[in-house]
Subunit: 107 residues, 2 copies
Amino acid sequence: MGITKSQIFDQRQNELAQFFKVLGHPARIAILQHISTQNSCICNDLVDEIGLAQATISQHLKELKSIGLLKGEIEGKSMCYCIDLDRWNELQESLNSFFNKTKHNCC
Amino acid sequence: MGITKSQIFDQRQNELAQFFKVLGHPARIAILQHISTQNSCICNDLVDEIGLAQATISQHLKELKSIGLLKGEIEGKSMCYCIDLDRWNELQESLNSFFNKTKHNCC
DNA sequence: TTTATATATCGCAATATTACGATAATAATA
DNA sequence: TATTATTATCGTAATATTGCGATATATAAA
């Protein structure tokens, strides 16, 4: 197997899980943290900073883009990757909503 | 490869990522949601409710236990799995702290 | 135009995850 | 004690993820 049975869950559950999944890698956490400490955010910095190969960083950036957390603009010969603040806040709310709705104590 | 280079990240980054990773599967989201709607929380219910095999549910429960989100007590011949509310709140705070510290706009 | 720089994508190998049937372990019940 | 019910674990197959070198692409600079 190895394939997640997405069809037995609803869209909200799949989306929420996908979002958590993308954040579920230390390199992607580190990338977000590094970007947030900078005023300019260029991929090349990340390769030196994080210590993974350029191809690997590029792949992680792609996943962060896939859930809308990063937006990238071409700036000269490099890319300017930044956190999309609207999406960031939206996801934080979405996630807090899950936490607040789900918490329950029975034991 | 396929192996995450945890050693190049700090403990906080690895922990945070691990936490996100465990929540990054729709079955585990569904399990938490289902448990939170019940006063008694028994694994056997989950198998019918979620639609995955008993062995699979048991595996997912184990992962949720691994980050402390669930606590289980033996109750007769079945298990009572519940959300550990202290840990739940702790993780929610930890996660909000990450979101609040990391958000930044440069573009 | 040529060269250098920056990023994305492809292809692959190693490892991890997901799912499940079979079976073990444990406790209640007949 | 034998049976039934519930959950955990083992073994395995299918698929996904991680990471990287090689290469393609695109822009700036020489």
